[in-house]
């Protein structure tokens, strides 16, 4: 990947030391960005039965943290993410992001969202797709061009700026989605199983790329996934949710050192954490 700034270049050379320090640092004095307080979500399904998607979930997410919401289908992780994004109204409870409601957060365009499928507009080129939110926010043209170029650079797709989505592979399309989410320079990045539709090799590569981007930009990331290894590899903390009804069953601290690489995946600590999480499901997981 291209590294245009001096800052980033020096970051690479001395990364291990700086990261260890910032790691301790950000854990120690980071304040909460998101407060989720007794959130419940109940709705009626097509058979008119009541479904409890979320029951009394409370958790806090610190600024600059990378957290995962992990669990099998039906545990409410996507529902919770959508509540944070103001795409759903909870039945009970409240969410505050930097002291504001999700609605206010959305109206002030404070978060970037990446969906399960890339959701690119077929009629726009890659460049114009990344440009879309900037157009809506009335960012002046020169600034728009600058940001689009730098984002495409960051995800390594500058060569494809004038291609159409159908000419790109699934993984590349998703990278465009990420570039687009970052273009508005949000404080918060919400990701809803963005890599679940991709093959294992692409997924692992994109995991690393994502961490790379995160290191450079210091955003807060809330990442939804059903893949235990992915959650452990990426996050500072993993919130494990279980279904029927959807609830928070445990919070696991991931104290693996950063930057995390392929080697991290092979380490015994990694396996131990994955194992720990998997075991916490065994008693809880039931087929519906």
């Amino acid at each position: 990947m291209n590294m245009p700034t001096v800052e980033a270049m020096s970051g690479i050379e001395s990364r291990p030391i700086i990261d260890a320090m910032s790691f301790i640092d950000h854990r120690a004095k980071a304040k909460n960005l998101i407060n989720i307080d007794h959130i419940s979500m109940i709705y009626k399904n097509s058979a008119k039965k009541e479904v409890v998607a979320l029951k009394d979930v409370s958790l806090d997410i610190k600024e600059g943290e990378f957290v995962s919401l992990l669990g099998p289908s039906g545990c409410g992780k996507t529902t919770l993410l959508r509540i944070i994004a103001d795409l759903l109204d909870p039945s009970a409870g409240s969410v505050r992001i930097a002291g504001q409601s999700p609605r206010e957060n959305r109206l002030r365009q404070k978060y970037g969202m990446v969906f399960q499928s890339p959701v690119l507009f077929e009629w726009r080129t890659v460049r114009k797709n990344v440009c879309l939110p900037l157009e809506i926010m009335n960012v002046p043209r020169e600034e728009r061009e600058r940001r689009v170029d730098s984002q495409l650079d960051m995800v390594g797709l500058s060569a494809f700026a004038n291609s159409y989505p159908f000419q790109l592979s699934g993984g590349m399309q998703q990278r465009v989605g990420i570039a687009r989410a970052l273009a508005i320079k949000p404080d918060l990045l919400l990701m809803d199983e963005p890599f679940s539709a991709l093959d294992e090799f692409t997924r692992e590569k994109l995991n690393e790329d994502l961490l790379d981007i995160w290191h450079k930009t210091h955003k807060t990331v809330v990442f939804v996934t059903h893949n235990i290894s992915e959650a452990v590899f990426l996050s500072d903390r993993v919130f494990v949710l279980s279904p029927h009804p959807g609830r928070l069953s445990s919070v696991i601290d991931i104290d693996l050192p950063r930057p995390r690489t392929q080697d991290t995946r092979e380490s015994p600590e990694f396996f131990a954490l994955v194992s720990k999480i998997r075991k916490s499901f065994e008693g809880v997981y039931r087929l519906s």
Binding site: A85, D86, L87, R106, L107, R108, Q109, Y111, M113, F115, S117, V119, F121, E122, W123, L132, P133, E135, I136, M137, Y164, F166, I184
Partner: protein, 264 residues
Amino acid sequence: MKHSKALVILAWVSGVLLLWELGAYLLTAVIRDPMAGTKLPYPQSVVVTLGGNWRTLGQAALVTLSKATIGFALGAVVGYLLAVLMSVSRIAEQIAFPYLIVSQMIPVLGLAPIIFNLVRDMDASRIVIAAYITFFPVAANSLSGFKSVETDKRQLMYSYAASQRATYAKLMIPSSLPYFFAGLKIAAPMSVTASILVDMLGSKSGIGVKLLYSLYGGQVDIFWASVLTSAAMGIASYLIVLLAERVCVPWRTVALVDTGVRHE
């Protein structure tokens, strides 16, 4: 092994022409039908007539088409705007949708003589009828286009706190274009047919007049040439819309049902 499409079509067209030739031969030479000429002429004689009269036929076709085109454009614009209105306002949709469906049941071509009786003016009738015929398929198909925008895309725009205007300009309208053109493809040949019908109701020029006069005047060759010309007009109108679609909708999209994505 897949044969090229052009080859296949060529083979079929030749086959049909052969059958046509054969049929005409059977009628005149074998069965010796006295009315053979009016039932099925020799392909070559039709071609000759076409060649000889292409100027008059072409002019007649132009007269018929010109006013129809204005009506067609008018109907298309109004139809699309109605679809936008119905997409924006639930109430508008609830009120207008049943009538949209019902209107597709009204024998529109049957309405032509009545409209002509009301309007009296030949040109105005052509415009009104063409607009009416175009209006409803365009509105129904365009509305279908608006409704088919994926939820994900709408949620994306919502997450950007995009205004309704921005959502329409950047998402809804580009999405609806393929469907708009599907509606136009249905309406175009129908508008041509309607215009020819109006010709026959008492116009002085136009391909419909040629059809009628040649029929009753016993000019069998001209009659068949006119039939072919009108068929060509129908096909041409469809192809023109197809071309316009290639220009306006250059991105690859999902194939739509050819004969009309209607009110389902």
